[in-house]
């Protein structure tokens, strides 16, 4: 079963990602939130979950 960790691990980094509502599929990306939302809409998702994809997935919440 695909979960959000699998989706995020393989997704582009250092950008905004749009996921479908159940967070199993990447439906858009962008340098800003608007661009990711636009791509999601073009892919049929009008209420995406937006998430920041950091350069590296490491434990912790602040970038150095």
């Amino acid at each position: 079963m695909v979960d959000i960790a699998d989706v995020l691990q393989n997704a582009p980094r250092d950008c905004w990602l749009a996921l479908n509502k159940d967070e199993t599929r990447l439906v858009g990306r962008g340098e800003d939130m608007e661009q990711a939302i636009k791509e999601a809409s073009e892919n049929g998702e009008d209420d995406p979950v937006l998430i920041w994809s950091p350069k590296a997935w490491i434990p912790g919440v602040y970038q150095g």
């Binding site: 979960d3 959000i4 960790a5 699998d6 995020l8 691990q9 905004w16 749009a18 800003d32 939130m33 608007e34 939302i37 209420d47 995406p48 979950v49 937006l50 998430i51 920041w52 950091p54 590296a56 997935w57 490491i58 434990p59 912790g60 919440v61 602040y62 970038q63 150095g64």
Partner: protein, 149 residues
């Protein structure tokens, strides 16, 4: 409201987590409302009792048309010592899990590796949170505190 933790990836197996390649994280979905009544999409916010207040990436302020640098500036660092990063504070309403709407004095900053954080001031003073690591995956329960005026 009870939720399972969310698995987030790790690029390298973490020795602190016995080599796990994902970290289970308590996350709630929130939408942020700006002063112009623009509403953000649903974004994941880490429930973090170690954070002094609620924090959002600066792009969320941009999306809401909040003039980021017009807010009072503070600084915050992580648990590892280092350069303090500027944080700009604004009043915002947030809708939690499309269920509760609260008003928070929140910080917006560029160098946040997660999308948002629900911290002590603004969130933990309005909700009681029980973290249950006896489950696998862990779960947490969030209850709105009924304030007596």
């Amino acid at each position: 409201m009870r939720r399972a933790y969310t698995p987030w990836p790790l690029d390298k197996p973490d020795p602190g987590l016995r080599g796990a390649n994902r970290v289970w994280t308590p996350v709630l979905k929130v939408r942020v409302l700006g002063p112009s009544h623009r509403v953000s999409p649903s974004i994941p916010a880490v429930v973090d009792s170690g954070a002094p207040y609620c924090l959002f990436r600066a792009e969320v302020a941009n999306y809401l048309k909040l003039p980021l640098k017009n807010g009072p500036e503070g600084g915050i660092g992580g648990i590892i010592g280092g350069v303090r990063e500027p944080v700009y504070f604004h009043q915002a309403n947030i809708v939690i899990e499309d269920n509760w709407t609260i008003s928070v004095w929140a910080g917006f900053m560029r160098k946040l590796s997660v999308t948002a954080i629900l911290g002590r001031a603004g969130f933990f003073d309005k909700f009681q949170v029980m973290f249950d690591h006896s489950q696998s995956p862990p779960e947490f329960e969030v209850t709105k505190i009924d304030l007596i005026s």
